[in-house]
């Protein structure tokens, strides 16, 4: 039988061979003219299946946000409509044609957005306390991110379908695995925020919280607390975002205020933050260097750099490595365990880079959800 089939493919004289050869030629011609269209269809199907999953994740996130608001905030009516409006909320960034002063404009937009968000959440959850309000705000922001991801993918899917263009659909198909990973990370974040669990991004805040344990804290800037802690004969001003609600605070303002209060008499600043790791690096790995270790839209980093450059204060950075999923998911053990090695490094840095009697600033950067002080 094998020889028969081989005969068919190589070209026997019978009718079956003719049919098979015709079929092969037809497929060749078909792929010559419609190959790209077939490829587009296959890609569209792949994007469609991911889009359905994204829709499920988004709906699940929305449902969880509404349930949490109902449970914690005890609203009188159904908050679903307000939540839906919130998920569509936009913030327009300032015009950057003339970049002079853009940081302050951006800061203003972000402040207005923050106030508006907090007011909205207060209206949705009238019974929630300050910590819960912050957590609910973070929960809704995660739901908002999921909504946006879904809508962007849907946009490219429908555009690809409408134009039947391989290149439109290819753009989104190529980055889909990364986008799905991001969506899953936000789904984890949403759960963590809803229940107030510490997240990986809080590694820096946790280090600061551990250092300031047993010392009096005071709010020195918006949502930023600081404590004066003696470490090996140095005076350390340890600061972090005000916990345990989901908050990143304004560490730039905090650092600037301490520098101004001490009239620039600060020997060094040590900033601790979570940073994205590269594939192959272990989560919870600690690395150090120089520069302002802080993420976000850049406003706080700008303020810190602006303050330190006036007084030529050296800035040291210690980072705890983790991937995006870990940064917004409940803090994994490896990241939690990295706190003590970070404190050891801080102490070593202080011994090596400063002398007894010096003033130093230690800033724990990151979202302090689930971390007190």
């Amino acid at each position: 039988m094998i020889t028969e089939v081989a005969g068919l493919l190589t070209g026997g004289g019978d009718i079956v061979s003719v049919i098979i050869q015709f079929a092969i030629s037809a497929i060749f011609v078909l792929f010559l003219f419609y190959g790209q269209r077939f490829q587009t269809r296959i890609m569209l199907r792949e994007v469609e299946s991911h889009l359905r999953r994204l829709n499920l994740i988004r709906d699940d996130g929305r449902k969880m946000a509404i349930e949490t608001i109902k449970e914690i905030g005890k609203p009188k009516g159904n908050p679903a409509e307000r939540v839906d409006q919130f998920l569509e909320y936009i913030a327009i960034t300032p015009q950057s044609m003339d970049p002079s002063g853009i940081v302050w404009k951006l800061e203003h937009v972000l402040d207005v957005r923050d106030v508006r968000f907090k007011d909205e959440v207060k209206l949705m959850a009238p019974e929630a306390d300050e910590t819960q309000l912050n957590n609910l705000e973070n929960t809704l922001e995660a739901a908002m991110a999921l909504n946006m991801i879904y809508k962007v993918i849907r946009h490219f899917y429908l555009l690809g379908k409408k134009t039947n263009s391989l290149y439109v659909i290819m753009q989104i198909q190529m980055v889909l695995p990364i986008i799905m990973k991001q969506a899953e990370a936000y789904a984890h974040a949403l759960r963590a925020f809803a229940s107030g669990q510490p997240i990986g991004d809080g590694a820096g805040a946790l280090v600061a919280a551990k250092l300031m344990q047993g010392y009096e804290t005071k709010e020195i800037a918006k949502d930023v607390v600081a404590a004066t802690v003696p470490i090996d004969g140095r005076t350390a001003y340890v600061l972090k975002a005000k916990g345990p609600g989901g908050n990143v605070g304004k560490p730039g303002d905090g650092i600037r205020k301490i520098i101004e209060e001490k009239k620039g008499n600060i020997s060094t600043i040590i900033m601790i933050d979570a940073a994205l790791k590269l594939e192959g690096e272990a989560p919870g790995e600690v690395a150090e260097g120089v520069g302002a270790a802080i993420g976000g839209p850049g406003v706080e980093q700008f303020k810190i750099e602006d303050a330190i450059v006036k007084h030529k204060i050296p800035v040291n950075a210690i980072i705890v490595k983790e991937d995006l999923g870990d940064a917004v998911s409940p803090m994994r053990k490896e990241v939690f365990d990295a706190v003590d090695p970070v404190i050891k490094r801080i102490k070593r840095l202080l011994l090596e880079r400063t002398k007894k009697g010096d003033n130093v600033i230690i800033a724990g950067i990151g979202n302090t959800i689930g971390i007190g002080q």
Binding site: R62, D84, P198
Partner: protein
């Protein structure tokens, strides 16, 4: 937020037409093959037709399986998050699942051993082996 504009899950008529053509061709090939085998005429082509017929049916089965809506994977797994409570006086440790309202450095109830106020010292999730 409505879901009415979600892409509908349906099989295109073009795809159905291909399935139908393959089905008819496969049945014809099988019919010719069996007829030749029964009549004992041209055994070479009868085996060829048999092979083509079965191949067509297998392809058809695969294509039909592809059109079936696939069940969605469980959306997102909820990781187990652990809270550790410690007594600052006698170092007694209590490890339990995370409860809403827990936060690191929160003072909780009295220690079971010495009645000192216990403190939450750790909250973390245990990573699964495949995550390492």
């Amino acid at each position: 937020m409505t879901t009415k504009d979600e892409p509908a899950r349906r099989v295109s008529s073009f795809y159905l037409a291909i399935i139908l053509v393959i089905f008819i061709l496969s049945l014809s090939a099988l019919y010719i093959a069996f007829e030749n085998i029964i009549n004992q005429s041209d055994p070479g082509s009868s085996y060829s037709f048999l092979a083509v017929g079965f191949f067509g049916l297998a392809l058809l089965g695969y294509m039909l399986l592809q059109t079936r809506p696939k069940p969605m994977r469980a959306i997102v797994e909820t990781p187990r998050v652990i809270t550790t409570l410690e007594c600052p006086k006698c170092d007694f440790k209590n490890i339990r699942d995370f409860q809403r309202g827990d936060y690191i450095f929160k003072e909780t109830g009295p220690c079971q051993k010495c009645d000192e106020t216990m403190k939450i010292t750790a909250i973390y999730r245990e990573a699964k082996k495949k995550e390492q």
